[in-house]
Amino acid sequence: MNWSWTVFFETIPLIAKGLWITVGLTLACYLFAAVFGFFWVFMSRIPSKIVRSIFGWIAVFVRSTPPLVQLFFIFYAWPVIPVVGVSLNPFVAAILGLGIHFSTYMSEVYRSGIESVDKGQWEASTALNLSTRQKWTKIILPQAIPPTIPMLGNYLIIMFKEVPLASTIGVVAMLHIANDYGSQYYKFVEPLTVVALFFLLLSYPSAILISKLEKKYNRKFDKKAMSS
């Protein structure tokens, strides 16, 4: 057994520095995915059936292919493409790559929320002669999004655990620091264990928080359904 507690405690402050980069990158990716998720919802509601199915398939394609390959595409291949190609720094590439990948999941969450809004609400908005914009911002979305908050929170935790992929294109966060330390001193196990512990430390309490939130929301919305 080659375990050294000295190395273990020595790497904690080093990797803690990377923790904030991981958390920041997670939030940035999440924000991008949350906004871009509406794009897919919008595209799935366009009247033209051809456009709808094209974007539907693109979303399925993005969702069922590895995010790592998508990341490499954006980081390595995008700059080479003539005319539209631009070099991106690793951070931007990670935000774009992981953000687009997870936006296809977010759109599914939004869609489930929108579909759960009662049919009468749509009819009532039409009857009240609300404009499309008013219908969405005042009637549908305020009812569609709150019940999906626990699900959206789950995706935040899932993304947190996918962000270390960015270390493969050179984002210096927790995993990257651990691997650097490992190759410098040939001590991999301790820094990697520290990284794993940091992940656990953040994601486990958040998961508990979200399941509590889920229960609370379920009660709240069940009550509403019963009284209506």
Binding site: T65, P66, T193, A196
Partner: protein, 220 residues
């Protein structure tokens, strides 16, 4: 400037490893998920405690970290050599997704209405018969759509094995890219298409299972 068939013939060399890791991981993670899922509904506190610990550890940390951890820690820390890196990859992916999928197994078993358990007790079925003939057949139907989704997740996860040096699709893609920089858009697009083609049967399976699980269920 390489042509499309050129690139394809390079990438295709990695297909065997990708498919091998995929199939082995699916088999192992399914077994782990069933065992861990059933253990978590056990009445034995020790069994539920130990599996609960396993599930939370593997769900709480990142797969890529686990993959690195296993590939460095098993030989260094415990002096375990699995023979080839394929087994390290399969072990990490299976333990990770086994933990996630055990939650579906547990959830589905708990979602079977309690009247079914009461009826089995009333019919004097043994605990084993109750599980085998009453609870599990109903629970499996509920598991299948989510299970299909996880199979796609496992396929996506297999792309990580190139990071610990396995020669899968992505590994050959990166090799080709490093010598033919201007071809990199074609290389990665082709890779994405190849992964998508492998995913198509899994997507079809998931769709099919969604309709199977809905069929004949009165309460929807």
């Amino acid at each position: 400037m390489g042509s499309l068939p050129d690139i394809f013939s390079t990438l295709v060399q990695g297909l065997k490893v990708t498919l091998l890791v995929l199939v082995l991981s699916i088999i192992c993670s399914t077994i782990i998920a069933l065992v861990a899922g059933l253990s978590r509904v056990s009445t034995n506190r020790l069994v539920t405690g130990v599996t609960g610990f396993y599930v939370e550890i593997f769900r709480g940390t990142s797969l890529i970290v686990q993959l690195f951890w296993f590939s460095y820690a098993l030989p260094g820390l415990f002096n375990i050599h699995l023979g080839s890196d394929i087994w390290v990859a399969v072990l990490a992916i299976s333990l990770n997704y086994g933990a996630y999928m055990s939650e579906i197994v547990r959830g589905s078993i708990q979602a079977v209405p309690s009247g079914q358990t009461e009826a089995s007790i009333a019919l004097n079925l043994s605990k084993f018969q109750r599980m085998r003939h009453i609870i599990i057949p109903q629970a499996v139907r509920m598991m299948l759509p989510e299970y299909g989704n996880y199979l796609i997740q496992i396929l996506k996860a297999t792309s990580l094995v190139s990071l610990i040096g396995l020669t899968d699709l992505l590994y050959y893609g990166n090799i080709y890219r490093s010598t033919h920089l201007s071809d990199s858009p074609t290389v990665y697009l082709l890779l994405l298409v190849m992964y998508f083609v492998i995913a198509l049967p899994l997507i079809a399976f998931t769709k099919k299972m969604e309709s199977v699980s809905k069929k004949g269920v009165a309460h929807g």
